[in-house]
Amino acid sequence: MHVVDWVVLSATILFIVVYGMWKTRKRDSVEHYLMGDRDLKWWTIGLSIMATQASGITFLSTPGQAYESGMGFVQFYIGLPIAMIVLSVFFLPIFYNLKVYTAYEYLEQRFDVKTRTFTAILFLIQRGLAVGLTIYAPSIILAKILDWNLAATNLAMGGIVIAYTVIGGSKAVSETQQQQMTIILIGLFVALMVVIWKLPQGVSFGDSVKVASQLGKMNIIDFTFDPKARYNFWSGILGGTFLFISYFGTDQSQVQRYLSGKTLTESRLGLLFNGILKVPMQFTVLFVGMMVFVFYQFNSSPLHFNSDNIRRLMDSPYAEQYSTLQSRHQEVFEQKRAGIYDMIAAERGQNAEQLQEAKTKVEGLLAEDNSLRKEAAQLVKANTPEAETKDTDYVFITFVMNHLPVGIIGLLIAVIFAAAMSSIAAEINALATTSVMDIYRRLIVSDAADTHYFRASVYFTIFWGLVALGFAGLASLFDNLIQAINIIGSLFYGVILGIFLVAFFFRKVRSNAVFYAAVLSELCIIGLFVADKWGYLQLGFLWLNLIGPALVIGLSMLLQQIFSHGGEEEIKKAQEL
């Protein structure tokens, strides 16, 4: 990396961190430390919510996804604005009235301590395992492409975050997130402008979008109802809505962001701000990826985007085979480029027949190129059996490193760092808050002074920071660990949401019914997942977010019926409450 890029990267990160630490340097009570004085304005809340959700991998993987299979991934987010309204109407007023620190605290007031503890523990397992990956996933890609030391990258990314989160608490997280999100939005805009500016002379922006559309990359919406498909309109609007109600309404890393708002109105506006901006932002990230695809139709691309894999391959007996594939890839590229110019000419001349002919030719060449890429991946696998052959995560960063001007490269690496750091900080902060409030203060030491809990909060923040760094370090040793952690995380959301939905909308259901229903539902979800893995059924994972709450609601109503026989007094008490 050029020295100018290093300066841009370091200056951006240092400015954000030093500013955040300086602005929040005096924290001396639990309320200040964990809730940041509850004085945030709506735009800070909105940016903070967006920054928490956007991780480093968002800016590495998502453009690659559009490059590979088009813009359909945006459907994942189409339930999000609806979720924001549901939360704003039903969840926020209750959290505000009760002045809770964590979402799980409400569950004790509504049900009992065991339901609160069970849900808090599900969150701690899910988030505690995943936080290491929030560091590791972008680190491994940056380390490979930039030839950095992985442990040092992990440590730089995680260490800086731990420092400012420990020193400044929740307020430092929100203050830095505001700056980080600003950098992310600027970086995204710059990337989009540069990729458009890089189009060859004589090819307009409109031409390039038409070409992408003709080649199936603009398949944004798919109305086909197919439970097996991962992303379509129906899974997005149904499964996605539930997933986002669950994520934003019951995941402490998000709940803590908007509970730090000055008033209920500020928090609601923050959520709606996210509801309006999130879909266009994801669309833009995907659009950048699609434009990178167009860029590589006019400029030669690597046959395999993970340059670390190629370096190893070129030092192996497979080097010659790879070179042969590379030459063929180059020939295909040149023919394809000519075909695409033909498509543009036909499109401009509105010659449908010529367009179809050129399109068929280009599609054939794209298919041939894909099979060449697969062959290259097989060579990578043959040379290094443990190597990751999927290279879509490396597409965008390779484009950035090879084709963007000096200075912009530093800015875009800073975007990836900023996105990663903003998520890690919110997660560590939320894990510490839940550990102190729902476990330590509620179950272990319940009558100590405020300073005691303040110190406990600082220690728990350090503890979770070290856990995150530890997992990030371990992830590089065990490939399967990453997959396992991702799976475990996605299995808990639906059940946690189910507990909250029963709490909010099913007033007759009491604590024992919901508790046992939640335990049974979690077992069912794991059963469904195993059945899917072993091939007994095929189910897109988004549907689990719909099945989980449905199970908890159904079972808790059934169990309540059973338990309520002979328990009229408890029901009467519940109705009075």
Binding site: I78, P81, I82, I94, L98, R110, M218, I220, I221, I276
Partner: protein, 41 residues
């Protein structure tokens, strides 16, 4: 009896109602744009 858990659903009305409708309308327009780009562009 006043209870924050059960008395906390304010009716959706006035400015908030209009704001929620506005968010849904903006989202619907974005979806229409996506549909246009997918099927007619």
């Amino acid at each position: 009896m006043n209870n924050p858990i059960t008395d906390s659903y304010p009716p959706i009305m006035g400015t908030w109602k209009r704001l929620y409708i506005l968010v849904l309308l903006v989202h619907a327009l974005v979806l229409l744009l996506f549909i246009f780009l997918t099927f007619f562009y």
